[in-house]
């Protein structure tokens, strides 16, 4: 397929800093990803993810590891939302790999780069995404 477009919602305190570290460390990762910095993974409304899928082929959401949230429990509350979102999407037949989640700390530049490589490859391996039935190329 054409190069997939991927959106990554990254929390300001951990995962975005992790992406920054990957950049500063000159780690290579695919340019398919578009990063959206959010205050906390708890800020990621399922609607963001569903809407992103209208325009792109895959979504990664990442935040601080449980226990390390800058706001103590933002990611813990987010976990329940993400669990339900993911199970609902799978229930209606959306591939597991299309919408992914991870915990990436500010020190894990390597993990960030590796995750982006994996997500990109995995999304590439899926059938082309219809963008909720409204596929327009690009």
């Amino acid at each position: 397929m054409k190069e997939p477009k991927i959106v990554a919602f990254l929390c300001n305190w951990c995962s975005y800093a992790g992406a920054d570290l990957a950049g500063v460390s000159r780690l290579q990762y695919p340019p398919n990803v578009r990063i959206v910095r959010v205050p906390c993974s708890g800020r990621v409304d399922p609607l963001f993810i569903l809407t992103a899928l209208k325009h792109t082929d895959g979504v990664l959401t990442a935040g601080c590891h449980p226990g390390d949230c800058h706001y103590t429990s933002g990611n813990l509350v987010a976990r329940r939302k993400f669990t339900l979102l993911k199970s609902l999407l799978e229930f209606v037949g959306i591939e597991e790999k299309r919408v992914q989640f991870d915990w990436i700390s500010a020190a894990e530049g390597n993990r960030f780069a590796a995750r982006i490589r994996d997500v990109t490859e995995e999304v590439k391996g899926l059938e082309p995404w219809d963008r909720w039935g409204g596929r327009q190329d690009g």
Binding site: P46, V92, G93, W132, G133, G134
Partner: protein, 277 residues
């Protein structure tokens, strides 16, 4: 049921005539056979118009939200679960409403019904409520066994029937937001037309918004003029919330809604590899 409706009428009349409430929310005969219609009664003598029969399917809890007067409401099991939710979410103050509980009048009942008699009430009308069985989520489990492609096709097909009239949302006692996300325009999250993508996003998001709060009353599905299968999504969420967080909405007066809280040991099945790694 004769005795039941007599008791309801008497109690409603008494509440109005003694000035304990200004309005009684219940059902009266509808214009179509088998369909009773919600009614608002303010005079004692009109209480004879109240009915309690097969046609009383709607979830009346919804009407309390807009009611400014001191009200009495006649409710069955599922409506009472919605009331518990509304109280939990501070949408109602308990002292402004008198709850007249009655056993569910539907002889057949709805599939998967968990409780036919009200969870909370001030007065309970006598009468035996039909039996409820354990809900085995047969429908959800059967659907989950289809291939992903089949599931997606079914979901797309159902949702493409939707004309975005929002009757489902308006009938739902869990959908009381002053401004629903579909009506937001700064930013406009969801397009207002019936494009498939917008329909899909609307229905997935609504299912998530009512997750852990939906009481499976079926009001949304009954309200839908296009026969969209909304229930399958809601029941999927019902099952997940029950299995993962051991929670069923509105069955106990003291409840903490699962999406308002967390447990440090919550499972993380959404992570790659199911959170095992």
């Amino acid at each position: 049921m004769d005795k039941c409706i007599r008791e309801i009428r008497d109690k409603a009349q008494e509440l109005l005539e003694t000035g304990q409430v200004e309005v009684v929310i219940g059902f009266t005969a509808g214009t179509l056979p088998g369909k009773s219609t919600p009614c608002f009664i303010t005079r004692g003598e009109d209480c004879k118009l109240l009915v309690w029969d097969e046609g009383c399917k709607n979830n009346l809890a919804n009407y309390l939200l807009k009611e400014k007067r001191k009200a009495a409401i006649i409710i069955k099991g599922c409506d009472s679960r919605s009331l518990v939710n509304l109280l939990t979410e501070n949408q109602l103050s308990r002292d402004r409403v008198v709850i007249l509980g009655a056993p569910c009048p539907l002889t057949e009942g709805c599939e998967g019904c968990q409780i036919k008699s009200p969870v909370i009430y001030d007065y309970l009308v006598s009468g035996k409520a039909g039996k409820t069985g354990e809900d085995d989520f047969h429908d959800v489990k059967t659907f989950a066994r289809l291939s992903p492609q089949e599931r997606k096709e079914y979901f797309y097909k159902e949702v493409s029937k939707c004309i975005r009239c929002y009757a489902c949302r308006n009938a739902c006692p869990a959908c009381y937001c002053r401004e629903c996300f579909v009506e937001n325009n700064l930013p406009q999250w969801v397009g207002k037309s019936t494009q498939l993508a917008d329909n899909l996003i609307f229905h997935l998001t609504r299912a998530l918004h009512v997750a852990g709060r939906c009481v499976d009353c079926g009001a949304c599905q009954r309200a839908c003029p296009m026969g969209v299968d909304l229930r399958i999504l809601n029941r999927k969420m019902l099952l997940e919330v029950k299995e993962l967080y051991q929670f069923e909405a509105g069955l106990k007066e003291e409840q903490e809604l699962p999406l308002n809280t967390y447990d440090p040991g919550d499972p993380e099945p959404f992570l790659a590899g199911g959170g095992e790694a």
